[in-house]
């Protein structure tokens, strides 16, 4: 039974873990199991209203009576999720009494939708979490910083988080964490484009930069964007950021050689981008032009009808023959040896 709920939001100051561990399940000690997505947050999360998919399940704790138990969430914390809360650090609470199915082990709590069910569900989205991480969405961004959301369940005295003193007590607690990376890779060097038959093959070399806005050596994939070269010089001079979506085609690959379909005989402008593992995208490379060309492979130019693909029906007779000869040979030798031994 839900008795009451409250929701506040805040962060511990100075949260930063060096470890870049990606986890989406945390069998926390103290009897709780937590799962969550996403594991990583990129620069796009700074403006994202997407929520999180967080669930909590009891594993080996049990209620000690009919006292209210509070699921208490607050963003941030150190590795042990202990310390002093800021005054606005409490995300929300949920009163679970002894009859709640949570204690029967069959219920997962969905966070934050299960908090404050009788009132306003606290807002918890990617932008809110990153807004509390210093520098994540401002200035030069951060690379590989870990942010945690901590929670606790009070078993004894209804104050897993003492909201008055802001101190977390020794009740079951846990956390979910997200790696925050809001630095994109630097723009790639000018790509090398090889025109193929109905395709362009774009070879991309990682760029480097002394600009602290970018993170070197952090490329997970590449995107190539092409558009037909406009006949109007002003239009053709536009940077890739100004190209309209309707006139462009893109292809993405984890290899630094990206192949993209294009029409033979048409000249294209080509730009390349580098992306890290949270899809932070670099600025565009310099633009190059290329024109796919009609090519004739070994099959296309073979005179029609002279050669028939497919498998060999004539093999049947010979296979039978070889099979029988092999069997007869083995049998004959066996008989000969048996007679010899006798």
């Amino acid at each position: 039974m839900i008795r009451y709920a409250t929701a506040i939001l805040g962060l511990f100051p100075g949260i930063a873990w060096a470890a870049d561990t990606i986890e989406t399940e945390n069998p926390v000690a103290n009897g709780l199991t937590v799962t969550w997505t996403p594991a990583k947050l990129g620069k796009a999360a700074c403006a994202s209203t997407d929520g999180f998919d967080i669930t909590v399940k009891r594993t080996n704790i049990s209620t000690t009576g009919d006292n209210p138990q509070f699921v208490t969430w607050w963003p941030g914390g150190t590795g042990a999720c202990s310390g002093t809360l800021e005054s606005d650090s409490l995300l929300g609470t949920l009163d679970l009494d002894a009859s709640d199915t949570f204690w029967l082990g069959s219920t997962w709590l969905d966070i934050p939708s299960d908090l404050n069910p009788s009132g306003t569900v606290p807002t918890l989205n990617e932008a809110i979490v990153l807004a509390r991480e210093s520098g994540a969405c401002t200035g030069t961004g951060v690379a590989g910083t870990t942010v945690r959301l901590c929670f606790a369940i009070d078993l004894t005295n209804n104050n897993a988080i003492d909201t008055a003193s802001g101190t977390m007590l020794a009740d079951p607690f846990g956390w979910v964490q997200f790696v925050v990376d809001t630095k994109p890779p630097p723009p790639p060097e000018s790509p090398t484009v090889t025109p193929l038959d109905g395709k362009l093959s774009v070879k991309i070399t990682d760029g480097t930069s002394s600009d602290s806005t970018y993170e070197d050596d952090d490329v997970a994939s590449y995107r190539v964007m092409i558009r037909k070269l406009p006949t109007d010089a002003t239009e053709a001079a536009k940077l890739p950021a100004e190209w309209t979506a309707s006139e462009t085609t893109s292809a993405t690959d984890t290899s630094n050689e990206v192949t993209i379909d294009a029409d033979n005989g048409v000249e294209y402008q080509v730009a390349a981008y580098a992306l890290d593992d949270v899809d932070n995208e670099s600025p565009a490379s310099t633009v190059v032009t290329a024109k796919p060309q009609a090519e004739c492979d070994v099959a296309e130019c073979y005179p029609t009808g002279l050669l028939e693909p497919g498998y060999c029906g004539a093999a049947q007779g010979s296979l039978w023959g070889i099979a029988l000869v092999g069997l007869a040979l083995g049998y004959a030798w066996r008989r000969a040896r048996v007679r010899g031994a006798a």
């Binding site: 090889t194 025109p195 193929l196 038959d197 395709k199 093959s201 192949t259 033979n264 005989g265 060309q293 009609a294 090519e295 004739c296 492979d297 070994v298 099959a299 296309e300 130019c301 073979y302 005179p303 029609t304 009808g305 002279l306 050669l307 028939e308 693909p309 497919g310 498998y311 060999c312 029906g313 004539a314 093999a315 049947q316 010979s318 296979l319 039978w320 070889i322 099979a323 029988l324 000869v325 092999g326 069997l327 040979l329 083995g330 030798w333 066996r334 000969a336 040896r337 010899g340």
Partner: protein, 254 residues
């Protein structure tokens, strides 16, 4: 066709499972393994190509040149008898690939589509086109190791006769291309004969030939193979026939 292949597989399994008959207490080889390397270039065909003075063989050279890429193969031998020499059956699978460039044709400086007539004047394009062959062979093998056993001369002559089935694929840019509206892949069957000589390497591996050794014999061999793989006269099959000089290492196991 599937049933025939299944039968062939079954017969091969039975043959490979038959026991070896030999007299005396000397350890006798019952299995053999060959690692083979040899140059290969298929004859490809001798038909004239319509509208040109070229042949199928010329067409192969246009795309893949005159080189003979290396074919690698793995062969397993099962010896069934060892009265005078070793008599058995063998199965082999190989791998061979030739690569070239697709062709680009131009007319008055502009790129145009090639045809089977104009392709001969085309220049190399940027797309790699590939001819992949996986030959499968089953047959009978005889190794005359009497000189080694009786006179300690480390030479073994051998001969093989087999049926081969060359699976092939044509691709461009890493994808199977099309021929006459179908996937450009197929197979050609045929026969082959081999003769070879193996130099025993016991002087390098003295423990060879004794019970408990990893292998009984190891040999460095060279053989000549003539294959007639033209689909038994089917002119619409790629002619995979070739003369092949192969060398490699072989091991015999108890």
């Amino acid at each position: 066709m599937t049933r025939t292949l299944m039968l062939a597989v079954c017969v091969s399994v039975v043959a490979f499972a038959l026991p070896v008959f030999a007299a005396g207490n000397e350890p006798v080889a019952t299995w053999g393994l060959e690692l083979r390397l040899g140059q290969y270039r298929p004859e490809f065909g001798h038909q004239s190509l319509p509208g040109t003075d070229k042949t199928e063989s010329d067409y192969y050279k246009l795309y893949f040149g005159k080189s003979s890429p290396i074919m690698t193969a793995l062969e397993v031998d099962r010896y069934l008898a060892s009265k005078v020499g070793l008599l058995g059956v063998y199965g082999r699978v190989g791998h061979w690939k030739a690569s070239g460039k697709s062709k680009v044709c131009t007319e008055s400086g502009a790129v145009v589509n090639c045809t089977s007539q104009t392709v001969w004047d085309g220049a190399d394009g940027n797309t790699t086109t590939t001819f992949l062959v996986v030959p499968l062979t089953v047959g009978v093998i005889y190794r005359f190791d009497w000189l080694k056993k009786e006179w300690a001369i480390p030479l073994t002559a051998y001969g093989k006769a087999g049926y081969n089935y060359y699976l092939w694929w044509w691709s461009a840019g890493g994808e199977t291309t099309t021929l006459n509206g179908k996937d450009a892949k197929g197979a050609t069957g045929g026969l082959e004969l081999s003769a070879g000589l193996a130099l025993n390497l016991d002087w390098i591996e003295p423990s060879g030939g004794k019970r408990g050794a990893v292998f009984l014999d190891s040999n460095l061999f060279v053989d000549y193979t003539r294959s007639w793989a033209d689909g038994f006269g089917d002119r619409k099959k790629i002619n995979m026939s070739a003369d092949q000089l192969t060398m490699g290492l072989s091991f015999d196991f108890e």
